[in-house]
Amino acid sequence: MELINNDDDTWTLSKVSELEHLMLSRLPESADSTGCEEAGNRLFPSPISPEADLDNEKKSSADSDWKEYIEPELRVEFMDSLKIVADDLGKAQIAKDEEANCYEFNIPTAHADHWCSALNQARIVIHYRYDLPDEDGVLDMDPNPEKWMATLQSEIYGTLMEFLIKKVLWVA
């Protein structure tokens, strides 16, 4: 993958291999935490520290207020980012490389934050759904092929996030 600045407030993600394209096309569905309670709890945690010195009544009241007023806002923001990314991904084009078919698509600079949000949501859900190890960059040949693919998928998302953070979003 390569991220190129087009100087018109867009970036082109080019040299996207078929495997990377396949993984990226799974991004919106991979970010769905339905059926994975741990991922849901991590994406929408209580606002109160587990160590907070608060009685149960106050903690419970803060939690229920958060669930009623804040969590729906978070859900809308997360969903908006996923829709924007799905739309960008839908515009991917096949670009003939010397050796194999590659894909490329544009990411408007204004969408970079949405991309990071979507990639991060998916990484969190994948981590808990497949019970991935906590260490970074662990890509052992797990005997479970689904888990191995999930690790690879998460690594690809992490790589693209690093590109976006360092090239697009980082301000010196």
């Binding site: 991590r42 994406l43 929408f44 945690p45 209580s46 606002p47 109160i48 520290s49 587990p50 160590e51 907070a52 010195d53 608060l54 804040i70 806002e73 978070l74 923001e77 990071c116 949000s117 991060n120 949501q121 990484r123 969190i124 981590h127 991935l132 906590d134 260490e135 992490g158 996030m161 690093e162 953070i165 360092k166 979003l169 980082w170 301000v171 010196a172």
Partner: protein, 101 residues
């Protein structure tokens, strides 16, 4: 107790008044807890963006989260702490808050 700017007088016991005053004035701290997924660069970026911290300070806090399991990133009144926790959670950081004794 007479509410400021109002003629309404509410009868409260001294104990209740102290408790309400404590709740209003008690400072809260916003913390980020370590999680195995968020990229270090992403945590640093979000800390810089939300709190306006320098790259050096944001990096130090991110490393504290990474090595110590948590870091206090802001301290102040509850209402503002809630806003910061919401902003941090919008970026999927594992942000929580707690009152300071």
């Amino acid at each position: 107790m007479l509410i400021e700017g109002s003629n309404v007088e509410i009868e409260t016991s001294p104990v209740a008044e102290v408790e309400v005053l404590d709740q209003v004035t008690q400072p809260w701290q916003v913390m980020i807890l370590n999680d195995p997924v968020n990229l270090m660069s992403f945590v640093t970026l979000i800390l810089r963006r939300i709190f306006g911290y320098s790259e050096e300070k944001a990096t130090d806090l991110m490393l504290e989260v990474h090595h110590e399991g948590s870091a206090i990133v802001w301290t102040g009144e509850r209402e503002k702490a809630e806003l910061y926790v919401q902003q941090l959670q919008t970026h999927q950081l594992y942000a929580v808050m707690e009152p300071i004794d």
